[in-house]
């Protein structure tokens, strides 16, 4: 497949499939003057695992409950993101040396000086992280959706139009993060909408509104990225070298996430893929190989008829 200019935006076929993309909403056809790209920055270093986000999301979006399931994985009884869980708080318990550092939780009064704190609950650290749909710059779910049900909003987010989805289920295995899922009681696919309805009314998403520590921050993606850079530097200065950003890099395999994270360990520890790639990056190669195989099949059939008399 050749690389061809689209004419209107100057992006090429390949830019549309992978790589950095400054304005996904504009590329998807929203007129100039559309709102800036909005997203989430989830700073897991200040998450207290209260699950207010999970509850607020369910309440606002009318997401069905999944019953009470005790999974035996720390305080996580949600398990994973899915059709009925659009926020999922992961809990990881890790054995570490007793000496830990203050993460600078929001508090009242003057900011405390960073200090090494001796704790006596020797040797367990908690990692808590509220996961969500990444609203990828190059969203595989959207690319493969055959009905056009999944679409890019004017805010650059990725949303399912439930009146169009026919429940083909293609988006489910396409997502490199395992986010979107078919709701079996309903037949259609569901995931986080980044509260599209609230955004259009100028409100912030329900989870961000409910988060008591501001672990979930909502705003224009550019601002969030800057804020996140500063936060990582701050944590590094405070002696938390393991702090790192995940999904903020426009050069990554999905062109950067609209919802990105500050993590305190490797992504896979939280159930996130370490180096996700949008599957459609390789689609030109796939169509090419299909073309070659199709030609081979046709040639084989012709040869079989020409190559003998009986």
């Amino acid at each position: 497949m050749t690389t061809g200019h689209t004419g209107t935006t100057g992006t090429t076929w390949r830019d549309r499939l992978a790589g950095p993309l400054a304005d996904p909403a504009g590329e998807a056809g929203h007129a100039d003057g559309h709102p800036p790209r909005m997203g989430f920055f989830t700073d897991t270093s200040i998450c207290i695992g209260c699950k207010a986000c999970e509850v607020a999301c369910k309440e606002w979006n009318g997401v069905p409950d999944t019953g009470l399931d005790l999974l035996g994985s720390s305080y996580d009884n949600t398990g994973a993101l899915g059709a009925n869980s659009w926020r999922h708080v992961a809990f990881v318990e890790q054995r570490v040396p007793a000496e830990r550092v203050e993460l600078g939780m929001p508090g009242i009064g003057a900011p405390e000086q960073p200090q090494r704190a001796e704790t006596d609950d020797a040797g367990v650290r908690w990692l808590m992280s509220s996961d969500v749909c990444k609203h990828c710059t190059h969203a595989a779910c959207l690319d493969v959706c055959p009905t056009g049900s999944l679409f890019r909003t004017e805010f650059g987010t990725v949303v399912v139009q439930e009146d169009i989805c026919n429940g083909c289920g293609y988006c489910v295995p396409a997502c490199p993060y395992g986010v979107i899922e078919r709701r079996e009681s309903d037949g259609r696919a569901f995931k986080c909408t980044l509260c599209y309805d609230r955004l259009r009314d100028g409100l912030e998403p329900a989870c961000a509104k409910a988060c008591p520590t501001d672990s979930i921050q909502f705003g224009p993606l550019d601002e969030l990225r800057e804020r996140a850079e500063r936060r990582v530097e701050q944590l590094h200065d405070r002696g938390v070298p393991e702090a790192r950003l995940y999904g903020e890099d426009p050069d990554d395999g999905v062109g950067g996430d609209g919802a990105f994270f500050l993590l305190l360990d490797e992504p896979e520890v939280y159930g996130l893929p370490p180096d996700p790639v949008v599957t459609t990056r390789d689609l030109p190669a796939m169509w090419k190989h299909m073309g070659m195989a199709a030609v081979a099949a046709a040639a084989g059939a012709l040869a079989a008829f020409l190559g003998g008399r009986r």
């Binding site: 959706c145 055959p146 026919n166 489910v172 395992g178 896979e268 599957t279 796939m286 199709a294 084989g300």
Partner: protein
């Protein structure tokens, strides 16, 4: 590493995960709907080619049988696809847009006209009405035949499922070869003995393509090729290969016997089913275990930094 010795790079099985839970969602597609859909699409595509070419080369019996098979399996393939939808009544939304980034959209735009044309050709064959139009429809469906044989490979490959995605170069050839053997199999059962020659040759060509692609998929993909070798999918794929070989062998050795040819045809068809179910199950297995996501991605991040090299042997590959 010496390219001569058959070696495979297999990283250490150590990796971290969140309570061992899958990172990816398994496909929600139902069995047997979707593997059946894959099989029937290939059978329909190659049968359409056999039908048109048989008609054009003066083999009316082969043409008739293959046209009927093409129409029947195309319609059944559409049925399987609709049955698998969460909202079957919205099937027509598949044709709401044409998206080159969605193999299912492109596939629907191949499948819909194909089944119409193949059905028209079969209807004309059965009723004797409008023979010229029937022939033209059959020829047009044969034109779409090669695409019918292969688009389902892109459908599977264009996902995050490691065993499918990483096989995106081989799957189209596997499916094309399998489609040819399936079409040949149906003709070996249903076409008159005197007109089966091309079907035998198509079967041999398809078997060669299929076996070569299967070999590359199992050996060339490193860790993510593992699900193609192990467990239930491994068994299904081995059975598929054995049946393909049996079909090819019997189709040649038994060419004077109607009964042996029919057995060869049945073996080809069973092979096609086993292979599609095997590939489908292998993909599910690779989505269920986070190691197939984490280890290859870690390796990629490390710039393939010194993966452990293990001699290829059953023992080395079947790690716990």
């Amino acid at each position: 590493m010496s390219p001569r010795r058959e070696q495979e790079m297999v990283p250490r099985a150590e990796f971290r995960s969140y309570y061992g839970r899958p990172i990816l969602k398994q496909p929600a597609w139902k069995v047997p709907d979707v593997p059946g859909y894959l099989f029937l699409g290939g059978l329909a595509g190659s049968s359409a080619m056999l039908g048109a070419l048989g008609g054009a080369t003066g083999r009316p019996g082969l043409a008739r049988a293959s046209r009927l098979v093409a129409a029947g399996s195309a319609v059944a393939s559409v049925g399987a696809l609709i049955h698998d939808l969460g909202r079957p009544e919205r099937f027509l939304n598949m044709l709401r847009v044409l998206k080159p980034t969605s193999p299912l959209s492109v596939g629907s735009w191949i499948l819909a006209p194909f089944s119409g044309l193949a059905s028209a050709s079969a209807a004309s064959e059965l009723t004797g009405l409008l023979p010229r139009l029937g022939t033209a429809a059959g020829a047009a469906s044969a034109g779409l035949g090669p695409a019918m044989c292969t688009y389902t490979a892109v459908l599977l490959a264009d996902t995050a499922i490691p065993a499918w995605h990483e096989a995106h170069r081989e799957l189209p050839f596997l499916f094309a070869g399998g489609a040819l053997t399936s079409g040949a199999g149906a003709a070996l059962i249903a076409a008159p003995a005197a007109e089966q020659g091309p079907a035998r040759r198509i079967g041999l060509i398809g078997a060669g393509m299929e076996l070569a692609a299967a070999y590359r998929m199992e050996r060339g993909l490193g860790l993510v090729g593992e699900p193609y070798r192990q467990g239930r999918p491994g068994k299904l794929l081995r059975a598929g290969r054995a049946l393909t070989a049996v079909g090819a062998g019997l189709s040649v050795l038994g060419r004077r016997s109607r009964a042996v040819s029919a057995i060869a045809g049945a073996a080809y068809l069973a092979a096609g089913l086993c292979t599609r179910f095997g590939v489908f199950e292998a993909g599910k297995a690779s989505a269920a275990d986070p190691k197939y996501v984490v280890i290859p991605q870690r390796e990629r991040l490390a710039g393939a930094a010194e993966p452990v090299v293990i001699e290829q042997s059953g023992a080395a590959l079947s790690r716990p």
